[in-house]
Symmetry: C2
Subunit: 517 residues, 2 copies
Amino acid sequence: MEKWRAADRLLKFSSRFASAVNWNNSCKSKQGKYFYSVATTVHRNPLFSIISPDDISYFKTLLGERGVVQDALALDAANTDWMGKYRGSSKLLLQPKNTEEVSQILKYCNSRCLAVVPQGGNTGLVGGSVPVFDEVIINVGLMRNILSFDKVSGVLVCEAGCILENLISFLDDEGFIMPLDLGAKGSCQIGGNVSTNAGGLRLLRYGSLHGSVLGLEAVLANGTVLDMLGTLRKDNTGYDLKHLFIGSEGSLGIVTKVSILTPPKLSSVNIAFLACEDYTSCQKLLLEAKKKLGGILSAFEFLDSDAMSLVLKHLDGVRNPLPPSIHNFYILIETTGSNETFDKENLEAFLLHSVESGLVANGVLAQDINQASSFWHIREGLPEALMKAGAVYKYDLSLPLEKMYDLVEEMRVQIGPAAKVVAYGHLGDGNLHLNISAPAYDDNILAKIEPFVYEWTSKNRGSISAEHGLGLMKAAKIHYSKSPETVQVMASIKKLLDPNGILNPYKVLPSSLLSQN
Amino acid sequence: MEKWRAADRLLKFSSRFASAVNWNNSCKSKQGKYFYSVATTVHRNPLFSIISPDDISYFKTLLGERGVVQDALALDAANTDWMGKYRGSSKLLLQPKNTEEVSQILKYCNSRCLAVVPQGGNTGLVGGSVPVFDEVIINVGLMRNILSFDKVSGVLVCEAGCILENLISFLDDEGFIMPLDLGAKGSCQIGGNVSTNAGGLRLLRYGSLHGSVLGLEAVLANGTVLDMLGTLRKDNTGYDLKHLFIGSEGSLGIVTKVSILTPPKLSSVNIAFLACEDYTSCQKLLLEAKKKLGGILSAFEFLDSDAMSLVLKHLDGVRNPLPPSIHNFYILIETTGSNETFDKENLEAFLLHSVESGLVANGVLAQDINQASSFWHIREGLPEALMKAGAVYKYDLSLPLEKMYDLVEEMRVQIGPAAKVVAYGHLGDGNLHLNISAPAYDDNILAKIEPFVYEWTSKNRGSISAEHGLGLMKAAKIHYSKSPETVQVMASIKKLLDPNGILNPYKVLPSSLLSQN
């Protein structure tokens, strides 16, 4: 996940971005059509009911006045994603206070065939968390209790509306950390993190949420509460259904409680910034780092020379950390361990060996927290630098490590001199953030990028969405990463658990599959 | 997972064990009934067809003579589980050589309504891998190719019939290890490991297979091949269906290929054997170990004084590692890291601090490989010692850590002087192996254990199967660990993916749920 703290400060750029990619307010729901790209149109499903005064009365009786939001300003915020790129026209936001209320809401909506969109912190990047048309928005933000924490096992159980940063603060006092960290942590909710299988900055070290989430409570479309809220590391009793709700973007159920394994906080953090002259060396360095740094390796990020030049040009106060020249590739390595002396010596020995063996052309170990921050700022400042440089086409891809940079090079040939291809990402996770930076948005450039980038990714068994999800943006593109048979089974499971299709419609899966019976 | 190497040598005990728990050959399929406990009877599903000569001809045409096994000796072995506790009466064992053959077999069986049992190394403990009646046995043991290995990412792709030990050897040459290790590794197949979500000795360090398996290929009951064989750490494109096949014990599909993330082999291993005087100290020690040893902690096993006394009495050549007295609890700690000097100093400092703080009453750090082996032998020798001591009732439970030993103490009160309650297990994973050791099997003792042990586990939100699965043994007991709504959804998914119920029938889920429509 690109750290969003930097991007948060850039909301002023969003209107330019939106218009340039043919997104603007005039695209929102008109005569039941929603345009989300030049080529694709989504139609409102006519089977869904329209909110009636009786519905509002029911919800007010159920939730009280406070739980039923019809205020225009609040609705406008909830209808719009944080980039200002996606906009719905919902007339109703519901704020349940507990699982039973979520269950009653869904039971009612299902019986009335009212479509709903589950919304957490609304920090998604693919239009998954806002209505497409007039879906009822359900936000569990009032469900924000920490239910239990076991200091020995490190298992935290909490309600889905807990904001990630609040959980991080709570755990900090207990000497633990969350196994995921995102730039959006100040707004995003753990229920949303789980529902989107958020990746983030700690995945290399602590793995995906499929590994660290131990249990869930989720409410199905018909109001059935599934209690899968185990706190156990090992439980082989039947099918592990919670995984269906991790990463299904709220389309199979609404997550109401989460049980998660949290690692102890470790005191010793070290950061190095290195230069490599070719991509093969970057790969070898990663292999060596895994071997030599073993359990303490916590980040292995990379950027290429175009990315570094961009940062140096557009970000204030950033200096070349390895002067005087620009190298072909840069690697940021972070270690997190429990022993300051050992860990630092370990990293120093590794770096020395890497330089001697020729893998690393140059490098520096952060001597203090300021230097460490400045190294992270180069990597984290990339989205900001790209926005400042002009128009940018952004892709979030997973690719086999040995192929990853081939795409970047082929894209450069494909695009020619019209735009710059800028590559960076979580090399340790095989996750490439591919950015095409141009003076202005231009359909001729876009035509050179798409479908080339998706086809290339598909051909090399990559993923067209490493960590952002499919949402509305890529629901119709799932076949680039998943086989027809697999997508068909997904559709069958969707129809099994949500036969009326009320949960987050138009997203994740192609609508055409869901209307077939 | 209890290491089965010890138990393998004990097959001579299996007949005594079998008769004492009312298992013997006379229990096998008679008039369509199969007795698997005093209280429970399973009836053959009359909807399933019986193998005909035409079926045999079809399979011979499809697989060739070699792939169709009807030899009595081979069938006897495949019909019987390794403990000699479960026994089916299948007349046919099929050995496909590739996914296409598996697909054709299942398509045919589904159309003919022939029940099948997928069988790997047949090392399961709960009757999941052998036929209950006359199900066709499908063993993918001929599909044993390693398809690819990426040294940089550590991703191994192989066919499901690969024996775990062969994969371990292959990776050893490459400088990597499998993220799981089991005593049964010489026989068990990776497809079976995945299908049963095998736990084992490395779970504390590397997590469950839900985290480390990156992709799967599986064949559904109707022959559809699901290609979910990704090699990516991050892929958020639709529902992550592979998790349905991890731990569903072959009842949703047959796993044919596996993609798995393997960690680099680390050179430095250290082992300490410690004594604690109370269970609270054991828990605190675990917390301290997680904090102080951070990423290098690779095992945290425990046994109680009764377990130690048993080992000292019944295992040849074992000496009290912390003489002269027997302490209340023993902890085995293993660290695995990349730097011999640092890791050893780290562990020594941790141990010193633990002794000074009073958590540890006594302790010793292994000085060489022989001493390390002798410490592991105490923990691994427990199943053998228990078998030598007489009759043993074995339970594999996950429990919240702080409650775990309460069950042991309550069980002692419950049982009284009639039997010894012996506790050991993977404390670091919250996994208790609870053993009740008696001079002989006795229904009065069993009546004191069951359903008490299941009810207690259920009341404390534990799991009645931490790592062994449900199989035939506990299919009807799933409600002790899973809510009715959750079990109902499992049954719906089973019916969706296997409408005729041909895949591993009578297991995992209560048959009563599957016959409802």
